[in-house]
């Protein structure tokens, strides 16, 4: 058996079709029947993510979403948790950048009771002062804990360096110590009232369900929710920081340096998205990418080195991230910069392109095995505004990307003159070698 077996005949795959229905109050319902196991995910989503709160009260979106679990007009927080969990599903309520969500996965026989309690939580959340205060303190405690957590600290410092500390994107989605402290109960109630409305929301039900029954359940449980006009939101532009920067956050005797290199970039709906996805896979998006093979398999600097785009509605963060021993920190940064330059200046090999495209199109069905993964995918399609046919066309669009396009987007969107470099590590060991790279002054971050 020395000969590698070739592929068999592929069986076709389509992203599961959804049935959409709108209630009279404007709430839309997306239903995705899937029959693998007797399970169902029910996910309430609202255009009430961190994109929608203000820099001054950043974190309000996340706290307001979490507050949905803090009790209703008729149930305490403890009763809400117990009601969900007796049905077998933990209520998960939070907000990311694009949207707020509250939902769970249960055995499909328990869907009616689960829809009822979810509808109660969404429409009758009582936002009690004591619960809000506890959520705020927990977030502040998490932020404090993060100061000693090199990875999270590097991520937050990097976003702040890329966008500046006053742009909303420069502050974590769940808020900073200052902004969370500024979120009063009234802030959260006002945010909730303004942003959690039927017409801003999409209810997603995926799994072993009968669509007509789901529609009846949705009418019964969400039909009486009062419609409200959401506030007008003015489109925003993201300022990309000009000029390079090198920053070191000092962690005495750190066993490793956490490294972030990158810059602010374009929005999720940019026409170059597909080509950027392919380019990123080649550069550092997968195990056999250039950056990981160089830093891990060739030089053994690290356990892993990857590049990514953190997509948001009006921009993104392109970053290369890795963790290396202090004595090779500057060497690792130099290799990362070399790989970015090479991506911009040399056309990728045909084999690299086909590897990236075959991988991205091949794993597409693997991403959607569970009811929860399907519900998440529908939520992102909706709240990024990607369009109904997005997943149906995804693989075809991706497979059309050419070598020339990869090089064009690398030249256009990788900007060496704007790269920010954040290192969380022992400044006494890494500052001088970093300065010797001649990228600019090495600044210390407090």
């Amino acid at each position: 058996m020395s000969k590698r077996p070739g592929p068999g005949v592929p069986r076709p795959y389509s992203f599961p079709a959804s049935i959409e229905h709108s209630l009279a109050n404007g709430l839309r319902v997306a239903i995705v029947p899937m029959s693998r196991l007797p399970a169902a995910t029910v996910l309430y989503t609202a255009d009430a993510g961190a994109e929608r709160d203000d820099a001054a009260t950043a974190g309000a979106a996340s706290l307001a979403a979490q507050a949905l679990g803090e009790g209703t007009d008729t149930r305490s927080a403890a009763e809400v948790a117990a009601t969900f969990e007796r049905l077998g599903g933990e209520l998960v309520a939070d907000a990311g950048w694009t949207h707020a969500e509250a939902g769970t996965t249960v055995l499909s026989a328990r869907l009616p009771a689960t829809m009822a309690i979810l509808a109660e939580v969404v429409q009758q959340a009582s936002f009690p002062e004591a619960g809000l205060e506890r959520l705020r303190k927990e977030r502040l405690s998490d932020l404090l804990q993060q100061r000693a957590e090199p990875r999270g600290l590097a991520d937050d410092l990097f976003a702040s360096v890329c966008f500046g500390g006053t742009d909303r994107y420069g502050i974590p989605a769940a808020g900073s110590e200052q902004s969370v402290s500024a979120c009063t109960g009234d802030t959260l109630r006002a945010f909730h009232r303004a942003r959690h409305t039927p017409r801003s929301s999409l209810l997603i039900v995926s799994g072993d369900v009968i669509p007509d029954e789901v529609i009846r359940l949705a009418e019964a449980s969400f039909g009486a929710w009062e419609d409200r006009e959401p506030p007008v939101t003015t489109p925003r532009t993201v300022m990309m920081r000009a000029g390079r920067g090198v920053y070191v956050a000092h962690k005495p005797d750190a066993p490793q340096s956490e490294i972030r290199v990158g810059h602010a970039s374009v929005e999720r709906t940019h026409p170059d998205f597909m080509a950027l996805a392919v380019m990123n896979a080649i550069l550092g998006g997968v195990f056999n990418s250039r950056i990981n093979l160089n830093l891990r398999e060739e030089r053994a600097y690290t356990y892993g080195a990857f590049s990514s785009f953190d997509w948001r509605r009006h921009g993104s963060v392109f970053e290369v991230s890795t963790a290396v021993k202090s004595d090779v920190t500057a060497d690792a940064v130099r290799e990362i910069l070399r790989e970015i330059d090479r991506m911009r200046h040399e056309p990728v090999q045909r084999e690299e392109l086909s590897l990236a495209i075959d991988y991205l199109t091949g794993v597409f069905p693997l991403r959607f095995e569970t009811t929860a993964a399907i519900a998440d995918a529908i939520a992102f399609r909706e709240h990024f505004g990607l369009g109904r046919s997005y997943y149906d066309e995804y693989r075809t669009r991706l497979s059309r990307i050419t070598i020339a396009e990869v090089q064009r987007v690398a030249e256009t969107h990788l900007r060496p003159e704007r790269l920010q470099h954040v290192i969380v590590g022992d400044a006494r060991l890494v500052s001088e070698p970093l300065a010797a790279l001649d990228l600019g002054d090495v600044e210390r971050l407090a």
Partner: protein, 427 residues
């Protein structure tokens, strides 16, 4: 939930488990070798895991890292992991690429050594040392997963030592160790191969037989140090560790009956009563009511021999001292034993645990990994189909009895992390 589960044993001892599911054109391949850190020799801690890295460095017909490339090109995902009693390797691929995934696993099961070189070992040794720095040394509380087993199991016990290994032992690993470890443990008769997803059972058996059938049987598992151990710790062992953290964290652990024994279902439900979900006893009391903690969870290691560990992990809220937190955690355990488990506790815990079990089976790879686990540890993958019934059968009395018998002060290990002097945070 009744999954179709078919088993077949090849002449060389390789056990096959096949569970077809034609809903999507996806197939999961999952190999468990019945060897983990517990099988390491003294002076070679971390070797089972280092060896796992070497299995991605190529085999007779596969170049270094080509395994990743071929699976990636096929549109699949691939990885492996090492645990105390086992090591697993797995691919999920579009179903028309099943033959490739099986062939890659067979080439390294049968023909690994021609590809092994000193240079590859040296590189992976450095990668693993960086993995250790990343996941243990430079991570708040990161040393917990070597400190806790070291407290719960005595020095001579195979579960005592570090899974990721010490830097010294990693440095000491030789190419000859790779050869010996491979010959001893990576044999078809010490492995389970599970295939889940878009396959026909007869086709899968025939393909697996032709791909793996020529690999010779191994010499048999060597005698290893006994995993026998007193069922309870015998006292309350405590260790307080200063770490680079901002808030304290408490791990409170108990020796409990091994995975697969009749009491393990009660252990699982007791774990959920205490620490699954926001309705759990620990979360309700410590996070919500007393506001001493920001998170409180519980889990088991699922060790199949000697003794399992049941672990409560509670992180303090800023300003709460470790001693207060530790006594509050222990207080909740005492309260469960003293007052007993309620009907509401049991309804919640059983519903959460069984639902989580069923919904996790949606993923072909998660299903395959469970089947390999049951086949490797218990000898019968079909036991998976009765697991929900075993969990369902646990009642409030069983949890009360379990807490009284196993969570007492004669069977506790506390590992308490506190901020280094001078860094204690104020609320």
């Amino acid at each position: 939930m009744q999954l179709p589960i078919h088993t077949h044993v090849l002449a060389n001892g390789l056990r096959l488990v096949i569970s077809p599911d034609r809903t999507a054109p996806i197939v999961a391949v999952n190999v468990w070798y019945h060897v983990g850190s517990a099988n390491e020799r003294p002076g070679r801690t971390g070797f089972a895991h280092l060896f796992e890295h070497m299995l991605f460095q190529g085999s007779e017909h596969v170049a270094a890292n080509e395994h990743f490339e071929l699976v990636q090109r096929a549109g699949g995902t691939v990885n492996g992991s090492t645990w105390i009693e086992r090591t697993n390797y797995y691919e999920t691929v579009p179903s028309h690429q099943l033959a490739l995934a099986l062939w890659l696993e067979a080439d390294r099961m049968g023909r690994l050594l021609p590809a092994m070189t000193q240079e590859k070992l040296d590189t992976q040794r450095d990668v693993v040392k960086n993995e250790r720095r990343w996941s243990v040394d430079n991570q708040p509380y990161g040393t917990w997963w070597e400190r806790l087993p070291a407290l719960a199991f005595p020095p001579e016990h195979p579960f005592h030592h570090s899974l990721i290994g010490s830097m010294e032992d990693l440095d000491a690993a030789l190419l000859d160790d790779v050869k010996e470890f491979f010959a001893t443990w990576y044999t078809p008769d010490n492995a389970v191969l599970t295939i889940v997803g878009d396959v026909d059972v007869a086709d899968a058996v025939s393909l697996a037989s032709s791909t793996f059938g020529g690999i010779p049987r191994g010499p048999g598992r060597p005698a290893t140090p006994s995993t026998d151990i007193a069922p309870r710790v015998g006292s309350w062992i405590r260790d307080v560790v200063e770490d680079d953290v901002m808030v304290p964290r408490v791990y409170l652990a108990f020796r409990t009956p091994p995975f697969g024994t009749p009491l393990h279902a009660a252990a699982a439900i007791t774990t959920a009563v205490l620490g699954s979900g926001k309705g759990s006893r620990l979360h309700q009391r410590l996070v919500r009511e007393q506001q001493l903690a920001t998170s409180a969870v519980a889990y088991t290691f699922d060790l199949a021999r000697g003794s399992d560990l049941l672990i409560l992990e509670v992180t303090a809220r800023a300003g709460v001292d470790a001693a207060t937190l530790e006594s509050a955690v222990a207080g909740e355990v005492d309260a469960l034993a003293r007052e007993g488990c309620t009907a509401s506790d049991i309804e919640r815990a059983v519903a959460l645990t069984t639902t989580e079990f069923v919904t996790s089976m949606q993923s072909a790879q998660a299903r395959a990994d469970r089947l390999s686990q049951y086949a490797t540890y218990l000898g019968d993958p079909a036991l998976l189909n009765s697991q929900v019934a075993r969990l369902d059968a646990v009642d409030a009395d069983a949890v009360t009895q379990f807490a009284r018998a196993w969570l007492g002060t004669d069977n506790r290990v506390s590992l308490v992390f506190v901020p280094r002097a001078g860094t204690e945070a104020v609320a």
